[in-house]
Amino acid sequence: MNVKTNHSIQCTVALALLQEVIDPELGLNVVDLGLIYELNFYEEEKKLDVLMTLSTRFCPMGQSIQDSVKTQLENNFPGYTVNVQLTFDPPWSYERISMEGRNFLNA
């Protein structure tokens, strides 16, 4: 899991929470799927920036996944403004799936 952050402790908490956000087709969470690129916390401004991707641009479930990430973090980091930004550079690839994710898909 290769996620860039400016606050490793908060990042660990956020990633644990995001493991509950599931891709509806695969049944796998967005963290193990490798969709999360960056999580940056700005405590003074009470701001949380998420940089993530989707398995494909214009994925029909994309908006729903993006909204789920935002809601999950907003509900668990009260007072924080969560800003979810999408990127397709670099694009997502199968290599981003974590070992746990591969084991889940292999089961």
Binding site: P24, L54, D67, K70, T71, L86, N106
Partner: protein, 429 residues
């Protein structure tokens, strides 16, 4: 290192209201076509140019195959093209025009009334296809590298328009001789532009994107896809030219060889995706879709045999009939039965649950339909298909009838599941 997407949204997904009516219409058409198959006297399955057979074929090709593909394409073209659908209004118009035109045309064939109903139906269907073509071409994002899947879809839609336009000419030719020969003469041309140019090309183009996606496969081979594209279009164009200008049956083996090569490459492509899949478990919907890829070989073998008969004796009409059946009730129906439940539940799920995203547990899209009904449907389909083909081969009316009844059961179960998904209410389990 990362560049953010300046639109910062996951893409404007096509409104479900545009797509779902096509699915419901197609499901009802399937039931209707199989009902017509059941009530047609079994003894009539000896020639493809009979009013009942023409009506069933057009209900299957247009009402079932084309309507569901048009619906799914309005959802999938933006995914394939990585853009958004050009116009929802054009999509609604396409539905209305085709939705009115198809029953008119089928009624006209059933009663063999080539007057106003057939002409009005054909004009409405042509208008719908033209609007769809405009919508697809305009949905293609400018200044991007050519996407092979989008090229497949656009080319297939051009072939569809040529097919429906040829159909319109054939309808008029019944009452006002426009063409050199009678309409029956041009039937193989009209049929193959539709079967190969529209269905086969579109299904391989879209399937080559969806199958690796659903299998979560690392396999990719764009070169193979371009070969398939060239062989299918080359084979079909060759057939059209041979049919119009040469008319030597022995030469028809050339386009058949091109198509066989294209299908073999497509099977290799699908096998590559299957072998390199990350997701081990393959669900029933993908299994039936993969089976349909193998089933593509059946009509091709029958076609080669039919050409062989043309060379030695005369046209074997029963063989030609089974050939048509193995296209519309064979691989085309099989892939639709599978792919419906990989697309429609997601479209409905998105409509119902995307606002609740992350706010608690929601059912998964596959919970929206009944797996038990799906399995029963798949079983009745396979048995029905085999019995019907065996019955026509053996000229046994009872076996034909048993096959048709099983296919009716399949269509009924399919409709039950479609309505279950379409009218799913949160809280149902």
């Amino acid at each position: 290192m990362f560049t953010t997407d300046h639109n910062n949204h996951a893409g404007t997904v096509t409104t479900p209201g545009v797509v779902i009516p096509f699915y419901v219409y197609a499901a009802l058409s399937f039931l209707w076509a199989v009902f017509l198959l059941c009530i047609s006297p079994a003894g009539r399955y000896d020639h493809y140019f009979s009013p009942h057979t023409l009506a069933i074929t057009h209900a299957m090709a247009l009402g079932w195959g084309t309507m569901i593909i048009l619906g799914a394409s309005h959802q999938l073209v933006p995914v394939l093209a990585e853009g958004k659908l050009y116009s929802h209004r054009l999509a609604y118009l396409t539905f209305i025009l085709a939705g009115v035109g198809i029953p008119l045309l089928v009624y006209a064939f059933y009663t063999f009334n080539m007057g106003v109903p057939a002409k009005a139906g054909a004009i409405l269907i042509n208008s719908a296809v033209l609007l769809f073509l405009v919508n697809v071409i305009c949905s293609r994002p400018a200044a991007k590298n050519e996407n092979v899947h989008v090229v497949f879809v656009i080319t297939a839609t051009c072939w569809l328009f040529m097919t429906t336009f040829a159909g319109l000419l054939l309808v008029y030719n019944f009452t006002h001789p426009l063409l050199r020969e009678n309409s029956l003469h041009y039937l193989p041309l009209h049929a193959h532009m539709g079967i190969v140019g529209w269905f086969l090309l579109l299904i391989t183009g879209v399937g080559s994107r969806l199958i690796p996606m659903f299998l979560v496969s690392k396999y990719t081979n764009i070169k193979q896809l371009w070969w398939i594209y060239a062989l299918m279009n080359g084979g079909l164009t060759g057939f059209v030219l041979l049919f119009l200008y040469v008319r030597r049956p022995v030469l028809y083996f050339l386009p058949v060889a091109c198509l066989l090569a294209a299908i073999v490459i497509f099977i290799c492509y699908c096998y590559g995706c299957y072998r390199e899949r990350i997701r081990r478990q393959v669900d029933g919907q993908v299994k039936i879709s993969l089976l349909s890829v193998l089933m593509m070989i059946i009509p091709l073998v029958l076609l080669a045999a039919a050409i062989g008969f043309l060379l030695t004796t005369t046209e074997n009409t029963a063989l030609v009939l089974i050939y048509g059946f193995s296209v519309f009730f064979g691989w085309l129906t099989a892939i639709i039965l599978g792919m419906t439940f990989k697309t429609l539940p997601f479209i409905v799920w998105n409509k119902l649950y995307h606002v609740q995203a992350g706010a608690g547990k929601t059912p998964s899209p596959k919970d929206l339909f009944s797996s038990r009904l799906f399995n029963l449907m798949a079983l009745s389909y396979l048995l029905g298909f085999l019995l019907f083909v065996a019955g026509v081969f053996a000229a046994n009316g009872g076996v034909v009838r048993a096959g048709a009844v099983l296919l009716l059961l399949c269509a009924f179960l399919y409709n039950l599941n479609i309505f279950r998904v379409t009218f799913y209410k949160p809280g149902w389990r």
